[in-house]
Symmetry: C2
Subunit: 417 residues, 2 copies
């Protein structure tokens, strides 16, 4: 049995503990003396405790978890006065930003009910999302700008598990979702830390290859899709472990299978159809199809959740433009599971995707040291939102277009060409 | 059955819901459009949800609960590096202060394990307490200064219930503690809101009587105690419902049986012995005896927890002086339960007590509009701590000393004279 094989002797508790260890050591690269700010649902308490223990063992000076409760969110929609939906707890988000500026790392635990807010007034949902995005901006800028080391891990909440396995009892659904999380996070292997080392090497080889190519644009072609995504000038492909501006190497997503870069905000054209549902802040948005002109979405439709989508697109100047394009082969382990997760952390690592909104400055060469104007001049988009949605499948071909107009195959039928 | 009688038909869920309603309507007097910041242990989730719902029904714009987890606290003591104990999450406390300055109300749910940190290094405990107190100061000043409406309510955690009922099974202990909480909080009566109205009237009659007396000092005499507590110039007795500077009437403690005022920080002399254990931030401090000279504690002993006590006294310039003196008859309903709660919210409402540290500006006539220097000139103490400890019992007599030297009995054998 090599260290990259599955270890069938592991109990659930052991795998949960290893997920905590991987989140702290691989995900965050948490440093002795560093503070940690975690966000999690109340349901995630067992994983929060595993992470807290590993964080202190890694030398964390203080671990603070901000718990949320989906029941409280629903009570707000049921009973709060209308004005409630235009405000957010800015004092808390500002506090987080302040912690990050003072060196804290940031860990988010995902696992929310993908359709928590189904049935709520879309206008209230949109206004609450917009207020939250605006309030979160100072903290989010430090995260997407990689000023700090950060990661997202996930836990199997009952509501999420029921969405992924609708035909199972809750108990079986939760167990199956945990199995999928443990497998995707590589914590069911003999040596998860070594496995992540190997995986990061493979992702880095892929980003090097794409960076050497210096494509001018990518073209996605398939059913309902013919989209040309111009890449930002001096774009840089990223994937796997990455060094934050504070000098700490982190893996921002556990799991992660993608390589990604910054599109040019004004050079996207054509039409594209989503290949998986998008769960955004408790609303499922399905069968999105949009048309771009000069980088801007000029037509947008969705079979379900179109109200919320159209309001998301109106959030700000940058919310109709792209901030990320990412490539994931259809044979990625998460995609190979055949599951539809209704959770961005999982679905975005099972398919090529694009993101509306804010770009990662890290995906511009030298971007860490550039002003906002310099980043904008290279084509990096700016927005208070950053929402990934999936456009890849085994029916999609992708070409790379060189600055000389030369066209090369990058992916064929969802696999690296 | 009158509205002030017990209603034996109420279920646990109904009483819990009424506790939520009393906390919001009586405790906070929460106003439409007001934000609420709540702190609670994860264990308190059922009560947090009842409060959240009543807050939104009362028109709260947003309810944010900051949950704590005692397991996480213990992990810190077990694994964190030594430097951890000199820091606190100032970014979070500053955020709370910012919310209060912007109009948020504040609700704390008490119910912690009274001896959570028994067995931990007292040096680490003291340092962590000191760091927390310092970080909390900006928020605490807005609370003790009554800039905002606030309240403390409580829930029956298993650890607390085991401490109060050590000879019962956990299930029985929790049920008995809930009964005690429901009774003390008046939510087992036919009309709790009306009952609180009557209770507030009785407390206000008592404060009026004491305010009319304008005593210069109180003298406590009993076993191990002969203490003269000079009262601050222009001191004001408070008790029950009180108007905060934001114009909102709140009951800062649910339950509350005390009337209280501000001692003169330099005019306390004699010796005093505690009559109940004090649980402070997870440490039990028992059989405290101290001697005051010119308002300052010059000798202090405790049979248990003396390390933590002596470090508390060294927190800052004001931590050896008094910030509050409170009178509670020995026949108060909480005292009559015969229980020892190991929880300040309960034990302080079962016995006369004094508090080390910060004074309430509200307990100085016109204090709300005074500068720090003006408050200090009247004898109001200043400190980052405010720790109540119990000195009353049925063996204690209390006299009021007039400015003319006239001595009047206030309490005899623990009861109003």
């Amino acid at each position: 049995m090599t260290k990259l094989n599955k270890d069938p002797s592991l109990t659930h508790e052991q795998k949960l503990d290893r997920l905590g260890e991987v989140a702290v050591r691989v995900g965050l690269g948490l440093q002795p003396g560093q503070e940690l700010v975690m966000t999690a649902s109340i349901d995630a308490l067992p994983l929060v405790r595993r992470i807290t223990e590993h964080a202190y063992k890694a030398g964390a000076s203080l671990v603070t978890t901000l718990f949320s409760d989906e029941e409280a969110t629903l009570m707000r929609y049921r009973h709060a006065p209308d004005g409630s939906f235009d405000i957010a707890s800015g004092w808390l988000f500002d506090g987080m930003a302040s912690a990050f500026r003072n060196g804290a790392a940031r860990l988010a635990i995902a696992g929310e009910n993908p359709s928590l807010l189904a049935g709520q007034d879309p206008d209230k949902v949109s206004r609450a999302n917009r207020a939250r995005s605006a309030a979160y901006t100072p903290a989010m800028e430090l995260i997407v700008g990689f000023d700090i080391n950060w990661t997202i891990a996930s836990f199997a909440s009952p509501a999420w598990a029921r969405a992924v396995f609708p035909n199972e009892t809750e108990e079986v659904a939760v167990a199956k979702l945990w199995d999928a999380i443990f497998a995707a996070s590589r914590v069911d292997l003999v040596d998860p830390i070594a496995a992540w080392g190997e995986h990061n090497k493979a992702l880095h080889a892929r980003t090097k290859l794409l960076n050497d190519k210096r494509y001018s644009a990518l073209r996605f072609v398939g059913p309902g899709t013919d989209l040309t995504v111009g890449l930002a000038d001096d774009h840089e492909w990223e994937g796997g472990a990455s060094m934050a501006k504070n000098g700490i190497v982190c893996n921002p997503n556990i799991p992660s299978e993608e390589v990604f870069t910054t599109p040019h905000k004004s050079r996207v054209s054509g039409h594209v159809t989503s290949t998986k549902p998008l769960s955004y802040q408790g609303t499922l948005i399905e069968d999105i199809s949009v048309r771009f002109e000069d980088g801007r979405i000029v037509e947008a439709n969705a079979r379900k959740g179109s109200d919320v989508l159209s309001k998301v697109l109106d959030t700000d100047e940058g919310s109709r433009r792209l901030g990320e394009v990412a490539l994931v082969p259809d044979s990625s382990p998460i995609s190979a599971s055949g599951l539809l997760f209704y959770n961005t952390l999982y679905d975005e690592n099972a398919a090529c995707h694009i993101a509306l909104g804010q770009a990662y400055t890290k995906c511009i060469r030298g971007g860490d040291k550039m002003t906002q104007d310099e980043l904008a001049a290279r084509g990096a988009n700016k927005s208070v939102i950053h929402i990934d949605w999936m456009i890849g499948s085994r029916h999609i071909d992708i070409d790379g277009i060189g600055h000389d107009g030369n066209v090369e195959p990058i992916m064929r039928q969802g696999e690296w060409a």
